[in-house]
Amino acid sequence: MTSAHIKDQNALNQRIQTEITENPVILYMKGDKTFPQCGFSARVVEILNKVGVPYQTHDVISDPELRFGMKYFSNWPTFPQLFIKGELVGGCDIVANLFETGELQNLLKEKGLLTS
């Protein structure tokens, strides 16, 4: 899959920027909450469900332009990608790490996204 897939990177960047601004917690993943299509994506879904924060997902499998152009936007080559308040928190490794240390929960509380 070459970058020929990306008709207009600027338009794609704008589309992503809007989405991560409008959705305080959004996970770009393969599949969705009920049918994650990859172990790494499933792991982050599981973590977000445990933390209990409301979140949006975006299935990159059904959006090839985004799937191949996202890495130029976020400078991150793999999925899943978790964004909180417009910032990339990381992929599966980092989210799992932050969850185990409790930093993910603190970050969400700091941003007013987690009350409990």
Partner: protein, 76 residues
């Protein structure tokens, strides 16, 4: 040269002082541990970005996914 060795060499090219371990359980999912002074005062995302940058477009090939663990070398 094994894929794991190729990954190790790529990282050392990008992060010369790095100590790198690459475990290859199934040929597609690689577990990479990288320790370097370059990670000092950097967030996890920035640390991992350095590793991804060093890896370049290795993801277009057989490497499907990598699990990265970074740590900071603090010696002055």
């Amino acid at each position: 040269m094994s894929q794991a060795q190729a990954i190790k060499d790529l990282i050392l090219l990008g992060i010369p002082d790095a100590q790198v371990q690459v475990v290859d359980p199934d040929g597609h999912h690689f577990e990479i541990a990288v320790a370097s002074k370059a990670f000092k005062n950097k967030s996890l995302v920035e640390q991992h970005r350095l590793v991804y940058k060093a890896l370049g477009n290795v993801f277009e090939g057989p490497v499907h996914a990598v699990q990265i663990k970074t740590s900071v070398i603090n010696e002055d």
